[in-house]
């Protein structure tokens, strides 16, 4: 991968160049949150210093400019995910906000007692709890797609979960624990053959490979700004127009209405119907800058380099005999969850932290998946395109130190 300009790219992320406990930082916790390119940092800074003004609401020059930039950001996202119309791109507070919106509003629109919602064993809590809450409200229930020991969805079982009461499928595009890249196009195809809409949780996918919502044919796609090198507090929900039209609003407030009286309120059209109150417009513009940065490099190039890193790390980590890997699908992103035999992941994490290697330990907000494997938690190293094989080596060395100390 000599053609990937990794040295230049690392310079775009000022945070990477620092010492932790005297060791150079190896930031391998990208599944939790990603670092920010200068381009996005400077854009936010510039808005704060020179441009900030309310959007959609005032007639003054600054407000017009800010609104333009905000709607331009929407179009940037639209193009990035291949959405037919910018009105199908809703800015939310994050993946969790996006999924809660759909679970609430689709709940109101379609769920009735006895209905069923299909999720999978590998979902993040953000794609479980909103559906549990909606099901409880409407007397519906969850059906769960089981997974194989390798961490693949059991597609036969999935096919058999459908019946006349199935109203919704909501599954993750890429597992935040196992790294599995799910066959989402096939998942959508099957669901549609039963007339059932599909939400894809793209929190761990959108930053790793080109995504085209029309090609996937999904009904909803959700992701978070902070996991795609953008600001915190901003997220995206894509939806098919027919559903956005049918769904009642989720939150009430300014901008989402057409007319308000105390007797009756009529609602604005999408996307505004779903963007109540002052949105995180600076966050949205920051997110668009991050996306522009990524498309400047090329998502295919990024995917290529990350696959190279994934193969390198897979080979390196599997050479540690005491390491038990969870998630060994052949379709996998550069996310590695594992446990060192007989050593608590928390001990491992604390020790490798002292070597400057930043990872995450615990259940990764996926307790049902932990139960599936009968474990309390794992250590997770999640890589992205600013990481290097050198950092993988440092992880490898640090793990061997842990084994020395504790085994």
């Amino acid at each position: 991968m000599n053609d990937f300009p990794i040295d230049l790219i690392r310079k775009d992320f000022p945070i990477l160049d620092q010492l932790i406990y005297g060791q150079p930082l190896a930031y391998l916790d990208n599944g939790a949150t990603t670092q920010k390119p200068v381009r996005m940092i400077d854009a936010v800074n510039k808005i704060h210093r020179e441009q900030n003004s309310s959007v959609h609401r005032s007639v003054n020059y600054m407000s017009e400019k800010m609104t333009e930039a905000y709607e331009q950001a929407r179009q940037t996202v639209q193009k990035f995910i291949g959405a037919p119309e910018s009105s199908q791109v809703i800015f939310t507070s994050g993946t969790t906000g996006s999924i809660n919106l759909v679970a609430f509003s689709m709940g109101e629109a379609v769920l009735e007692p006895g209905d069923e919602v299909i999720l999978s064993t590998m979902e993040h809590h953000s794609n479980i709890v909103p559906w549990q809450m909606a099901c409880e409200r409407y007397g519906a229930s969850l059906k769960i797609i089981p997974i194989t020991d390798e961490g693949d969805l059991d597609m036969d079982a999935y096919r058999n979960l459908f019946n006349k009461n199935t109203r919704m499928v909501s599954v993750t595009h890429v597992s935040n624990v196992l790294g599995t890249i799910n066959p989402v196009k096939e998942i959508v195809r099957i669901a549609h053959s039963h007339g059932v809409p599909v939400l894809l949780d793209g929190a761990q996918a959108i930053q790793h490979e080109p995504v085209d919502v029309v090609d996937l044919d999904c009904d909803f796609y959700a992701f978070s700004g902070h996991k795609i090198y953008g600001p915190t507090g901003i997220g995206v929900l894509y939806g098919k127009q027919e559903w956005l039209d049918r769904m009642p609003p989720y939150q009430g407030g300014g901008d989402m209405i057409d007319r308000v009286t105390f007797e009756k309120t009529t609602y604005n059209i999408s996307p505004f119907k779903f963007e109540a109150g002052t949105t995180n417009f600076i966050g949205a513009i920051g997110l668009a800058e991050s996306i522009n940065y990524l498309t400047g490099i090329g998502m295919d190039k990024i995917a290529g380099y990350e696959n190279y890193l994934r193969d390198y790390a897979t080979q390196k980590l599997s050479s540690i005999s005491q390491l038990r890997m969870y998630g060994t699908s052949v379709n996998k992103a550069a996310i590695f969850s594992f446990v060192l035999n007989g050593i608590h992941p928390y001990d491992t994490g604390m020790i490798i932290d002292k070597y400057g290697v930043a990872v995450r330990t615990g259940t990764h907000c996926a307790m049902p998946l932990m139960q599936r494997f009968g474990i309390e938690g794992t250590l997770r190293a999640s890589l992205c395109f600013y990481n290097t094989t050198d950092e993988v080596d440092r992880l490898y060395d640090a793990l061997n130190k842990v084994i020395e100390m504790l085994a």
């Binding site: 959609h56 007639v59 020059y61 407000s63 017009e64 609104t67 709607e71 057409d258």
Partner: protein
């Protein structure tokens, strides 16, 4: 006159105007002279969504040409509406749908076309086009 010729005329008129004050005064005059929409159309049905000032628009098919009338409760908006009516009224649906919109930029009114919701000009132009489309298909159905 073709739409493109009227647009050229408008561009030349505006070229003779100085800074914004003169442009606004010109629009205000246009607004004052706009033959008001028939009172019958000055109701919610003809109201254009998404304007901070209220804009009413009507269109009729007269011998194959689309005839627009418009009104607004704000005078500058009314002036802009008058300008749009002047450019597009009494032309064929096809000519309206194929018209180049860059004249708006050239006369320095682009800010009024930003996709903000406080400003209804985009909605007005879209609505004019919708009428043209509707009449086009009506004509073709014959």
């Amino acid at each position: 006159m073709k739409i493109s010729e009227i647009q050229q005329e408008v561009i030349e008129e505006f070229a003779g105007l100085g800074e914004w004050m003169e442009r606004y005064n010109y629009l205000i005059d246009l607004g004052k002279n706009l033959p008001m929409i028939d009172q019958a159309y000055r109701n919610d049905e003809y109201l254009i969504r998404g304007c901070q000032s209220r804009v009413w628009l009507n269109a009729e098919l007269r011998e194959g040409l689309v005839h627009y009338t418009a009104d607004s409760d704000a005078i500058i908006t009314k002036g802009i509406a008058a300008l749009m009516v002047r450019v597009f009224t009494d032309h064929s649906p096809d000519e309206i749908l194929n018209a180049d919109m860059s004249f708006i930029d050239e006369i320095g009114l682009k800010e009024h076309l930003s996709p903000t919701r406080s400003n209804g000009m985009v909605s007005m132009i879209n609505q004019m086009r919708y009428y043209a489309m509707a009449y086009k298909s009506k004509l073709e159905a014959k």
